[in-house]
Amino acid sequence: MASVTYSGVDKIYPDGTLAVKKLNLDIPDGGFTVLVGPSGCGKTTALRMCAGLEQISNGELSIGGEVINNLDPGKRDVAMVFQNYALYPHMSVFENIAFPLRATHVPKSEVKSRVQRVIELLDLRDHAKRKPGNLSGGQRQRVAMGRAIVRQPKVFLMDEPLSNLDAKLRVQMRAEISQLQQELGVTTLYVTHDQTEAMTMGSQMAVMRKGILQQAGAPQDIYNDPANLFVAEFVGSPAMTLIAATVELTGESPVLVIGEHRLALAPEAIRRHPALGRDSGRRVVVGLRPEHMHPPGASDDDRARLRGRVALVEPLGAQQLVHVEIDAEPVISDVVLEIAGDGDADAGRANRRDGQGVRAVATFDARVAVQVGSEIDLAIPTEELHFFDPDTGMSLRAG
């Protein structure tokens, strides 16, 4: 086992395309880091550079302190699970798992015992002699994992390994991979575009966009404190609602003006975002998480409120997603639109409908009665709001 460190790593393709720019990322020994971002963000390229399947244009990549920029893939002691598993179709499950050992000339008797152990561990006993073409998606996924595990490598690299599975199997395999990683304690770099996988699986999450690392940290920290509009919108499902607003400094406390609404900002909001208390008339982008918009009649009546019309209710069992049209200014600055549009496409569309107004998505308890078409007051705890600069898209949070 070993740590993996990207130090100012660039990837520039011969046609000049910059796929990864100045990537600095540290994956601690035994850690599970998830690289997440929309397609084309450079996350797979970053992973393939670690595997040795892509040349590194600039910077240094080290495993366990040793710079491996020019080391052959086979000599890096990493194992990779591919998106389509890349199981050798002409070999049986046993032979597939044994391949990395045979390729590195491990003695025959040891190959057999190690492969048997992995087959037992992954519950593939009944399929050892079958070819990959005769296995189900979940079984193939397990064989691919087996091929990675059997080598006992320093690092696991996984490239969207669950994307070819159906929803139910994905949830099951997600848990299995996490558990296996914890048992084996092997440093893991995992690439996905699915933010649920990113939130649930890793001890560290790294969000990328257009080849640039946007933010890295514990998944919950990133969720609670996104560094910019892109991360804010990309992480979390349903996505954060973004609204253009103005901060006015009149009276005792700063007031957030959203369309017709005036929301007094809680002292905690100002403490977290000191920039809000500086200039009156400052334009900001406000971000609201679905769980921070409460149904009317919630206990604390003094909370700020946003009034809107219920456009759609999606029941989810224990909860319901309530889409509320709020008379407010959508976020239209070019920079912001571009950044936000790069994130979760559906959420992006929901936020910016053609007409005036913003569609906010709130999660309510399923027992709250909500009528489609009715007017509703959303109680907003302003200390939970996120504030961003409309020109740069960066968070206004202090520190």
Partner: protein, 280 residues
């Protein structure tokens, strides 16, 4: 309950297909029919008329061969040249195409163009310089010379077939093997080559048939040697006057027998090879 498994429509379709299939059998019928005719005037009669008395002895006469050599000898020569040439075509052709396709770049593009030239240039154009060169090297009338010639002549089509297949082969398998620590040759022979089986089947059949049936090249380059191939031995049976066509037909029937037997046993595999892709 009826056990008749056809509807009128499918029955008609099946019948018409059987009839069309029969058309393909006509040449075989003529071949066998004439090969069994006792000789004399009967050979020049209607080819569809059955022999008055089947002359199975024609086959043993044909087996004696001609002045060029016996049919058995021709068989051995044809088999040696065909099998060894096809073996080298497959090994060298697949490795060449793999390197060209996976390496990419300008050099690869130039090589592909050169091989394409080789594909369109008629062999006959180069016969005289080839003959002179091979004579110089002492390769005329030898198995090795013939094999070298065929491997060279058929390399463009082999590389072309493998290259087309390799382009559609996802590189993931090779990448997985590289990360697994396999050497380039191991990657090729253990991972890539088995996946090329459909292309290998096509190359083996196509090149095998071309070499087995070829008359012109062995006539020129093996002329006068004791290594004459089947078509040349059979041609030796053609005399200026009084050619015994029944004997020649018997010789032809013997010469195509191994191919037909091969097709009967391997047809399922061959069809799969032509039509099947890769099952992951």
């Amino acid at each position: 309950m009826s056990h008749f498994r056809y509807t009128p429509r499918t029955f008609l379709r099946e019948c018409s297909m059987v009839l069309i299939g029969l058309i393909w059998l006509i040449p075989f019928f003529l071949l066998i029919n004439i090969s069994l005719k006792p000789g004399g005037f009967e050979v020049y009669g209607s080819p569809f008329q059955l022999p008055s008395k089947p002359a199975f002895g024609n086959y043993s006469t044909a087996w004696q061969g001609s002045a060029v050599g016996s049919l058995g000898h021709g068989f051995v020569s044809s088999a040696i040249i065909t099998f060894i040439s096809v073996f080298f075509l497959i090994v060298i052709g697949s490795l060449t195409a793999y390197t060209i396709i996976r390496r990419g770049g300008r050099g690869s593009r130039i090589l592909i163009v050169l091989f394409t030239f080789g594909l369109v240039l008629p062999v006959q154009l180069g016969t005289i310089p080839l003959y002179a060169e091979m004579h110089e090297l002492g390769l005329i009338g030898t198995y090795s010379g013939m094999i070298l010639l065929y491997v060279g002549l058929l390399m463009p089509v082999t590389v072309f077939l493998y290259a087309g297949f390799l382009r559609s082969l996802p590189p993931d398998y090779e990448e997985a093997a590289r990360v697994d620590g396999a050497s380039p040759l191991r990657i090729f022979f253990r991972v890539v080559f088995p996946l090329l089986r459909p292309a290998t089947g096509t190359v083996a059949i196509l090149c095998g048939l071309i070499i087995w049936n070829d008359f012109f090249t062995p006539l020129i380059f093996l002329g006068g040697s004791s290594h004459a191939t089947l078509p040349v031995v059979i041609y030796g049976l053609v005399a200026g006057l009084g050619t015994e066509w029944n004997i020649i037909f018997a010789a032809v029937a013997i010469s195509i027998a191994p191919l037909i037997i091969f097709f009967i046993f391997a047809q399922r595999q061959l069809i799969r090879g032509y039509t099947g892709g890769i099952k992951a």
